[in-house]
């Protein structure tokens, strides 16, 4: 059970990471900075619980606040550029954050043991959950409360005019400006929201994994973050969840019995999926199919 809960936790955390990129994708921004925000959230929350002895919830809260603020500040220069330039600019930011934590040291002595982030050696023993006797079920519940909350908020926003405005900016920035939408504000809002969610994901990750170092926050993670919504399709939030389950559940864990062939298959499967379903697993075609199946069920129940 422990194993499956762990997998469910990983899926939850990656879903949050994917959703942080999803919001930006709605406004047409392809950001590789999410790994950077994720890292900032992870380190902040871990420093708060380990060094300052905070509780997990306030730590997560402050971590979200700080990453949100950072995303807001980074947004200004980064959103000056668009398209491929933005991809590379955000990639650069992500690498910058990684290099920062690569050089970041803050060691304090607690009960005769030195703890805290230690540059390239990483930041280990973030054992809040274990030390406070949280069971696996409780950890999973905590993570999924956040996941469901975030998914619900984004899904809800998508039904409102705000969601339509986000998508309008994503469809055509120039046209959005000429119908009176403040494109900069919308993009900054998306960037900040994305940062907050990535920070949340990071702070959960830190406590789930217990050890942080710069290796975890490379371009690879950033690529995963954008891969989820792209694979899942941006028509709604559930696509991202499905994509995370597909990658983390099926490809990474489910195919474990394939041993070292698994990673070979991983790349190949991404290529296949993008060729077969270029608009994501959850494209309008699939949605229509799901709807028709649901309708079939309903009609049968009625008759």
């Amino acid at each position: 059970m422990d194993y499956f809960l762990n997998l469910v936790n990983t899926i939850g955390i990656h879903t949050l990471l994917g959703l942080s990129a999803y919001i930006l994708l709605l406004t047409g921004q392809l950001s590789l900075a999410q790994a950077g925000f994720f890292a900032v959230g992870a380190y902040t929350a871990a420093v708060l619980t380990v060094i300052l002895g905070w509780g997990i919830l306030p730590a997560i809260g402050l971590a979200m606040l700080i990453t949100g603020l950072l995303a807001f500040l980074v947004g200004f220069p980064a959103l000056r550029v668009r398209g491929l330039m933005l991809v590379v600019a955000t990639l650069a930011f992500g690498e910058f954050v990684r290099m920062f934590f690569y050089n970041f040291r803050w060691r304090v002595t607690q009960e005769g043991v030195e703890v805290g982030p230690d540059g390239t050696m990483g930041f280990s023993e973030i054992r809040y959950f274990a030390e406070h006797g949280w069971t696996s079920w409780e950890v999973t519940s905590l993570i999924w409360v956040f996941v469901i909350l975030v998914m619900a908020i984004i899904w809800w926003a998508d039904q409102t005019r705000s969601g339509a405005v986000l998508r309008a900016v994503g469809e055509d920035e120039l046209a959005a400006g000429t119908v009176g939408i403040d494109v900069t504000v919308v993009k900054m809002a998306a960037m900040t929201a994305g940062g907050v969610i990535a920070g949340l994901a990071g702070s959960l990750y830190a406590h789930q994994i217990t050890m942080l170092d710069h290796h975890a926050f490379t371009v690879l993670l950033a690529t995963f973050a954008i891969a989820y919504p792209i694979l899942g399709g941006v028509s709604n939030v559930f696509g991202t969840l499905v994509a995370v389950i597909f990658i983390q559940g099926l490809l990474v864990e489910g195919l474990r019995f394939l041993g070292d062939w698994r990673m070979l298959l991983f790349g190949a499967l991404i290529i296949v999926v993008m060729n077969v379903k270029p608009r994501g697993l959850f494209d309008s075609q699939t949605l229509r199919w799901i709807k028709s199946v649901l309708r079939l069920h309903l009609s049968r129940r009625i008759s």
């Binding site: 994708l25 392809l30 220069p77 980064a78 000056r80 550029v81 491929l84 330039m85 991809v87 590379v88 600019a89 990639l91 650069a92 930011f93 690498e95 910058f96 290099m99 920062f100 690569y102 050089n103 490379t218 371009v219 690879l220 690529t223 954008i226 891969a227 792209i230 694979l231 070292d260 990673m263 070979l264 991983f266 790349g267 190949a268 499967l269 991404i270 290529i271 993008m274 060729n275 270029p278 608009r279």
Partner: protein, 298 residues
């Protein structure tokens, strides 16, 4: 004064080494920019295919003990074939306007190629034969590595050939035409897929040379080189201005020199930070890169 002179020599030497080594970045950058110019898309798997080309040529070297010139040629040809395969798998059948899907597919391509290399070599680094590795010219206080010089000239020659092909041949005309107006190009009797696959193959050709050059300059091949090279290539492409070949060359040489001089003064821990900062400065003050297109009229 002596100290200053010594320091001066060291710094200029570092820049020189970096610039020479930068020619490999330039070639990778040209590959990215060429494909971007032709299709408006990013082929992330490009550097991986380039290194795979170098690996294939290494296999030829080990199996047949082929001469060094052959290795470079084989590397180029293999990378060209791989480039074509990447086009076929990651771009050919994906709708033209779906940039995200193509980008993602090429990320898949990167993972796949990377893992195939790991699978074939167990991830172990392998010695790569180097041309003129013993040649080391001492000019006054400076030392110039013969192999880097060779790498630099190969880089220059391939760039020259590329520019010639692009602006003086039918193939080049078709490539540019397809890039600028694909429907009109078809109406002129050009085949889009043929032209695009040729572009990928040509870019692969350059990548294969770059891969072999990098491997020769370092003396070893390892899958851990792929990701850093991809990132450097992207940075070079953007600094040079997307779609600009001269931009990619100059940016490649510039980044090579720049990172080496930062390396000299600030060390490795800060080197990449400064390279990234350089990119940021360009994005803020010159968002279109060195030779990027300026805004055209609506």
């Amino acid at each position: 004064m002596d100290d200053f002179w010594f320091e001066f020599v060291e710094v200029t030497q570092s820049i020189g080494d970096g610039v020479l080594f930068g020619s490999t970045y330039a070639l990778i950058g040209i590959g990215f920019t060429l494909i971007f110019g032709a299709m408006g898309k990013l082929n992330v798997a490009y550097a991986a295919a380039a290194m795979a080309g170098a690996y294939s040529s290494l296999a030829i070297y080990i199996l047949f003990d082929a001469p060094l010139v052959v290795i470079f040629i084989v590397s180029a040809i293999c990378a060209a074939i791989l480039g074509y395969l990447v086009y076929l798998t990651c771009f050919r059948f994906i709708p033209v306007h779906n940039h995200l899907a193509a980008l993602m597919a090429s990320v898949g391509g990167l993972f796949f190629i990377d893992e195939v290399i790991v699978h074939a070599t167990r991830g172990s680094p392998l010695a790569f034969p180097s041309m003129f590795s013993e040649a080391y010219f001492e000019v006054g206080p400076y030392g110039i590595r013969g192999d880097l010089l060779f790498v630099f000239f190969i880089g220059l020659i391939s760039t020259g050939v590329l520019l010639y092909v692009l602006f003086r041949t039918r193939l080049g005309l078709a490539t540019r035409a397809v890039a600028q107006q694909d429907v009109a190009a078809r109406l002129c009797g050009m085949s889009i897929h043929l032209t695009n696959s040729t572009t990928f193959a040509v870019a692969g050709l350059l990548g294969g040379i770059a891969g072999a050059m990098t491997a020769a300059a370092v003396g070893i091949l390892s899958p851990v080189m792929i990701l850093p090279l991809t990132i450097k290539g992207l940075i070079v492409t953007v600094i040079g201005g997307l779609g600009s070949i001269p931009g990619a060359i100059i940016a490649g040489l510039f980044v090579g020199g720049f990172e080496n001089v930062v390396m000299y003064f600030r060390g490795i821990d800060e080197r990449d930070m400064y390279v990234v900062a350089l990119l940021f400065i360009f994005l803020v003050f010159r968002p279109n890169g060195l030779f990027g297109k300026t805004i055209t009229r609506d």
